[in-house]
Symmetry: C2
Subunit: 221 residues, 2 copies
Amino acid sequence: MRASYHEALSSVVDDLVTMTRKVEAAVDEATQALLSADLASAEKVIGEDADLDRMHDDLESRCFTLLARQAPVAGELRTVVAALRMVADLARMGDLAAHVAKIARMRYPREAVPESMRSNFQRMSKLANEMVELAGRTLAERNVLDAEKMADHDEEIDDLRTLQFRVMLDDSWSHGVEAAVDCALLGRYYERIADHAVLMGSRVIYLVTGLHPEGDHWTIA
Amino acid sequence: MRASYHEALSSVVDDLVTMTRKVEAAVDEATQALLSADLASAEKVIGEDADLDRMHDDLESRCFTLLARQAPVAGELRTVVAALRMVADLARMGDLAAHVAKIARMRYPREAVPESMRSNFQRMSKLANEMVELAGRTLAERNVLDAEKMADHDEEIDDLRTLQFRVMLDDSWSHGVEAAVDCALLGRYYERIADHAVLMGSRVIYLVTGLHPEGDHWTIA
């Protein structure tokens, strides 16, 4: 019984790593859809979001079963609790990737992002994607340092978003209301993907150390 | 020990109900800030968001303690798991109310929402507020019917948001890019507040029945 319990727990973590890779692929493909007006990619991300939701439901239900049947304690309890939150983060990142893809699809065959904003979104999406990848690696390797590195990426994303608003709200903006509304929402979606990656990182730190980031210090939960 | 455990569990639920009321007040005050260009209200919501975050951290840590020390099962385990997710929903709703208040503050002394969009946002914010109130009542009274009623409100919010886009992207829109960007984000924030209220409702259903809404059917988790 104990052996199969440990197997169940480690298969939850393995599947979380797999789910993170799928989310990373979805974010990547959504960006491809967005920046290359690629309708097939957009449809793929939107269609496959249901798979991520199913993975979420399956993993969540396995975590509940572990809690109910095994009453885990200490590090194992932390793993289940962290897994429950990570699976929610991942499902949300998948939703956000689908939101990006839907804007790409809505504007097809035009590109939603005007040329003057292109390099900003290229950089922002690259950072967001790296953060998801970093979150997966952090989880797979229990590497707390990687998790802390994410904060730097997150700061750059915030700066890029501030810059987006500056460009959109400048008198020289010539792309009209629709492109501005699209860019405002797209910036928000990538920012939220990055936020969830940061949260995943903090869940790994909790899982490994039992410490919770709270403001600028760490407390035992 | 068992008595104090049950006390600890029911005080978590009581405090969740209290937190829901505080979030409801924050959403209400943020709307006041937004629709009346009321700077004092905006500052209040932004300043008090830290209190909600503290409540979140406190409640979350009490749930962890219950899981670790008491290894609850059946209905009690469901209560703790549902509480963990509700407290995350509530903290997020508080953040979103602060986002609304920040837009109000940024545009002060002007109003962020143009006159032609005013009645839409009045209705949208009223519905969102009612949904938070409904979520709190559902939790306090374990009233599953209330939770299901929320779906109707949520649908109306989606319709209002679609209408917002129609108005903003119409050639007759004369309020410029800034107002459109503000309205796009504000609509998103209220929509997300409503989404979290719906999620809270589904967590109450899970807590009471052990059933999870999954697509359009219910499964045992």
